[in-house]
């Protein structure tokens, strides 16, 4: 995408043109208000080159430390320091260069510049650097604003697409019809369990139909769905499926995109357990990291991860896209083969921990209302 942030040519054009103009303007001012001398030309060249160099160093620093993403109040003191430093440093460098030039000349000009003059120049540079930063950050904010707008539209489009694909992509029809068929037999064999299974299936269906109206759900709710899903798969796979869910209660409130864990577990069954006549195991664990900043979910299952180059399953790609749109680079989803124990596929999901209770003041009524199953 063409944005200022990723257009180095524009940056260099602006740098060269504006600092050259600045040097030229300085020369003109001296000529008008002072007295023209040929030495003004090399001195103004020094000024231009030094300021291009120093402002470029500032830009490198800004980029490395991600100042563009800082809030204005955090950015201003940092810029104040940086501009002061550049103002002083630039005059020291220019002064040294001028001294070096004069010492090389056979007939150095008479009379030296008083140090107060450098103070004036430093002050001037200080203000010009504020102008530089205003333009630099201004363009970036403009870009980010545009980017945020685009992201918002993309997310809306993705949600819409998911809605359109509806049940088809979210709940695998093969799974659903097998489930119904199994329940049909279970009605004869164990009517009470059959009734439970119908409840599991209906909650799963309701969730997948309603999910697109909300972008994120608390982990605890998603886990309920994963349990429904596993119960239904256990009907099909019976003794071939063993699973455990180990979830830290502290992570229950963390918000995640709906169907994400369900999809990881579905993948584990579809590619790991179901193809094996002997079946296998699934172990899901979820906890917060040491600082409580990130939610870590791991799904381990029997199987081998053999990605086809250039091809990623629809479910996995969909989950990655949604994570990317909702959390940006802060979220990640990785699949790999785990050596211990052998023949294990490991899926690791990491995303920043946000919850309703941190976003809003803790109102118990609100959270219970959210956790309650929608009736009818």
């Amino acid at each position: 995408m063409a944005s200022i942030t990723t257009r180095p040519r524009l940056y260099w054009q602006l740098q060269l043109v504006s600092w050259s103009l600045y040097g030229l303007f300085g020369g003109v001012l001296v000529t008008i208000f002072g007295r023209f001398s040929v030495y003004i030309i090399p001195v103004e060249v020094f000024v231009t080159v030094t300021l291009i160099g120093l402002s470029h160093l500032l830009r490198q620093y800004v980029r490395r430390h991600g100042w563009v993403r800082l809030p204005v109040l955090a950015l201003l003191p940092r810029l104040l320091g940086a501009h002061l430093l550049i103002a002083i440093l630039s005059q020291v460098i220019i002064g040294l260069l001028v001294m070096l030039l004069f010492s090389l000349l056979p007939h150095p000009p008479r009379g030296s510049m008083p140090w107060t003059q450098y103070l004036g120049y430093a002050l001037n540079t200080f203000f010009v650097m504020w102008l530089w930063s205003t333009i630099y950050f201004g363009l970036h904010y403009l870009d980010n604003y545009k980017q945020a707008d685009i992201d918002k539209w993309k997310l809306a489009a993705a949600v819409q697409e998911a809605e359109m694909r509806g049940l088809k992509a979210q709940i695998n029809p093969h799974f659903m019809f097998n489930g119904l068929n199994n329940i049909r037999a279970l009605v004869l064999e164990n009517p009470a369990r059959a009734r439970d299974m119908i409840t599991h299936l209906s909650d799963l269906l309701r969730y997948s139909i309603q999910l697109n109206s909300t972008e994120k759900v608390p982990l605890a709710r998603e886990l309920e769905i994963v349990r429904h899903y596993l119960e239904l798969e256990a009907l099909q796979l019976e003794e071939r499926l063993h699973y455990t869910l180990a979830v830290d209660p502290a992570a229950h409130e963390v918000l995640i995109p709906p169907m994400t864990l369900q999809q990881l577990v579905e993948n584990a069954i579809k590619h790991g357990i179901a193809p094996r006549p002997g079946g296998g195991e699934i172990h899901l664990s979820a906890q917060l990291d040491a600082e409580g900043q990130h939610l870590l979910v791991t799904v381990r299952n029997t199987g081998r991860y053999q990605p086809v180059p250039g091809y990623e399953g629809v479910g996995l790609r969909n989950a990655r896209e949604r994570l990317q749109l909702l959390f940006g680079p802060a979220a990640s989803l990785r699949l790999s083969n785990d050596a211990d124990p052998a023949d294990t596929v490991l899926a690791e999901l990491r995303l920043p921990s946000t919850s309703l209770t941190t976003a809003l003041p803790r109102v118990p009524a609100l959270t219970t209302a959210f956790d309650e199953h929608p009736a009818g």
Binding site: F177, N178, N181, R184, A185, L188, L235, R240, A274
Partner: protein
Amino acid sequence: MNILLVDDSRLARTELRHLLQAFPDVNIVGEARHAEEARAQIQALQPELLLLDIHMPGANGFELLASLETAPQVIFTTAYDEYALQAFEVNALDYLLKPVQEARLAAALAKARAQLAGPGTVEASPLPEEPASAPLSAQDQVFVKDGDRCWFVRLADIRLFEINGSYTRIHFEGHRPLIPRTLQQLESRLDPKVFFRANRQQIINLKCIANIEPWFSNSLRITLSDGQEVEVSRQQSVRFRELLSL
């Protein structure tokens, strides 16, 4: 009608058993949970009809059929399959979507019953012969999968078997798919009254011969019903003449 149920889900098999109770002529001889078990059961129980799930752990239903020397009558059962079933040619196939409707099941069984009562049963000798060494009759069918397309092909419909590496290309109707068997393997199992080894590369169906003409140095050239020409080697031409003069 002896039926073998092949499905990885126990409940799905229970469900089929329940549905099949309504048909007194149906005798469920066994159940299998996956292709390997099914292969052994088919060998041991010689069912006339398979109710076969497509998705199973290990080999799927198609792979199971392709690995069998002859395919029994098959009714596929599947929960949802947009693609696999579209690929099918209509011949000798029926399929049921799970959960199965009683009426659809009755229709599929009627179709299978009609097939089994057809010409095939006359020749399928119920003698207690060693099953592995009994020659295949012309009414036996093989399951052929070539890329996305599948067929049940009666041997009588195959005009020509042609060597192709360790595979064999079969010619029937307008199709020429490969089957994963060597010509030697096939020759030893085919009925010698119907199929004749014309040369090192080809076996022809004697019932599909359109024309025979003498060729160089006492050999013969045979034209099959589709116009394909096959040269009979000198040695085999002698045997061919003997066969015809009988």
